[in-house]
């Protein structure tokens, strides 16, 4: 049911972990509904120079988190803010329809991290 790309990001997640002294942290979802994503960013000159994630959730939740970190790394904050749920899904060669809504929260978590950074700086 999942594309090869989803399985690749799920089995070998990129940018996994926590950033010590992150400049911004975004968290979306909750454990009750089965998905919780946390994104940590390090920012220099308005650019995301490092990004990491932690996710509790299904295969799609983990794969979308991994993908969004890949898409955002190296981008300016304004560019990163333009990454949508659809971009994440397209780059993963699609998600099952059921998973498009419930597990595709990674771009929201990224946006929350950027907003957190802007609030703090």
């Amino acid at each position: 049911m999942y594309s090869e790309k989803v399985m690749d990001h799920f089995m070998n997640p990129r940018n996994l972990g926590e950033l010590e002294n992150a400049d911004g942290v975004g968290e979306v979802g909750n454990p009750t509904c089965g998905d919780l994503m946390k994104i940590f960013i390090k920012v220099e000159n308005d650019k995301i120079i490092d990004i990491k994630f932690q996710t509790f959730g299904c295969g799609a939740a983990i794969a979308t988190s991994s993908m969004v970190t890949e898409l955002a790394k190296g981008k300016s904050l304004d560019e990163a803010l333009e990454i949508t749920r659809d971009d994440v899904a397209t780059n993963l060669e699609g998600l099952p329809p059921l998973k498009m809504h419930c597990s595709n929260l990674a771009s929201d978590a990224l946006r929350a991290a950027i907003e957190d950074y802007r609030k703090r700086h």
Partner: protein, 393 residues
């Protein structure tokens, strides 16, 4: 990449045993006749059906004419529950079931509610047991049917069906039990239990899919839901699924032998799996009752991770299991069974069911005891939960 396959989802379905298949094959070709026909092919098919009926009856301690062949567990549940209501003078009265039943039972009861019958869905304790006092207290003067599953499809908890039948009878009600998961795993004698209706299915016991049976105790009256040519004592019209029936008969017969030979071995493997998992993984728990459970069922929950993600990892290593997580269900709802035993949504998410079968070996358990802890550790590494403060949860 070729991976060793370890199938541990026998409560979902089981492979047809070669001996069962061998028994079925002639009935697709040489003995293809319609059992209702007078000529030799028809008589051969009729004999196949009746020999199978006797085998099913024998395995349950029933009489042959108490066995009605159906298309499977779902149809048997519908016929047993709705058919009992239809046999009453009016669509009124009260039915009792539990909150952890299979959807075939729950939705049959919901249908009765729509027809004007009151239904009580009994709660269960943390192990998934329906209390006898809880059942007794729920009985009403107009209760005409109690339907409680013999053993739960997810957590494997076994109910006290004999005692429940007594309570039902003392109050003038019938007792139906869905024994789909229990047949072939524990000895079942319908006379000793004194149940009135019992559901069983072929494909959970190394028989084919699309065949099942309903035991209807002599003297118990139900009405058919499928109308036609009067087959199966008028209770289930339609030309018989002869190869399926023959397969079910053979599977029930073999199942009696396997209760003595295979089940103790499978239980030993299951016990090793449970102690191995609980002993090697922190924050892991067994769902269901520690002793009063099906001998092939091991149902765990792991804190801080989600079940679909566990299944995908297991599948990568050739291991087939199942979960009660909302994320892997069509409805995106957590298992009603796990919520009914009091699990929080996040704990229901991290559930994992292994149901062992005849093909499983000590090596399979070795492999599970290597891979499951590895996968749980990997997913916990990915998860933000269970770190620092909430590790104590």
């Amino acid at each position: 990449m070729s991976v060793k396959k370890v199938y541990v989802d026998h409560s979902a379905t089981s492979p047809v045993d070669p001996l069962v298949l061998e028994a079925m094959l002639p009935y697709f070709s040489d003995r293809f006749g319609n059992p209702s026909a007078l000529y030799s092919q028809g008589r051969d098919a009729h004999e196949g059906v009746e020999v199978a009926r006797a085998k099913v009856a024998d395995a349950l301690g029933a009489e042959a004419d108490e066995i009605i062949f159906t298309s499977g567990g779902t149809e048997s549940d519908n016929l047993g529950i709705i058919g009992t209501a239809l046999a009453r003078e009016q669509m009124k009265g009260h039915v009792i079931t539990s909150s952890i039943e299979h959807l075939a039972v729950l939705n049959s009861c919901k249908h009765l509610e729509e027809c004007g019958i009151d239904v009580t869905y009994l709660p269960v304790n943390e192990y998934g047991e329906v209390g006898l006092d809880v059942l007794q207290d729920a009985m009403r003067d107009d209760t005409f049917l109690v339907s409680i599953g013999y053993a739960n499809q997810e957590i494997g908890t076994i109910q006290k069906i004999g005692e429940m039948a007594e309570i039902a009878h003392d109050n003038g009600a019938l007792l139906h039990t869905d024994a789909v998961q229990a047949v072939g795993k524990v000895p079942i004698n319908v006379k000793d239990l004194d149940v009135d209706l019992l559901t069983l299915s072929g494909h959970k016991i190394y028989g084919p899919k699309g065949i099942g049976a309903l035991y209807v105790k002599k003297g118990v009256s139900i009405e058919p839901m499928q109308h036609g040519g009067g087959h199966e004592r008028r209770l289930r019209a339609g030309t018989e699924n002869v190869p399926g029936i023959v397969g079910l008969g053979r599977a029930m017969e073999l199942g009696q032998e396997w209760l003595e030979t295979d089940i103790p071995r499978i239980k030993g493997l299951r016990d090793r799996l449970i102690s191995g998992i609980l002993g090697s993984i922190e924050n892991s728990y067994l769902n269901g009752h520690p002793d009063r459970r099906l001998p092939h069922n091991a149902h765990f929950r792991f804190s801080f991770i989600e079940g679909e993600a566990i299944l995908l990892n297991l599948d990568y290593y050739g291991i087939s299991a199942s979960t009660g997580s909302a994320c892997s269900s069509r409805s995106l709802k957590a298992s009603h069974v796990l919520l009914a035993i009091g699990l929080k949504h996040e704990d229901a998410h991290g559930s994992l069911r292994f149901t062992l079968g005849r093909s499983n070996t000590e090596e399979d358990i070795d492999w599970l005891l290597v891979k499951v802890p590895e996968i749980v550790a990997k997913l916990r590494e990915i998860s933000p939960l269970g770190r620092g403060a909430d590790k104590e949860r």
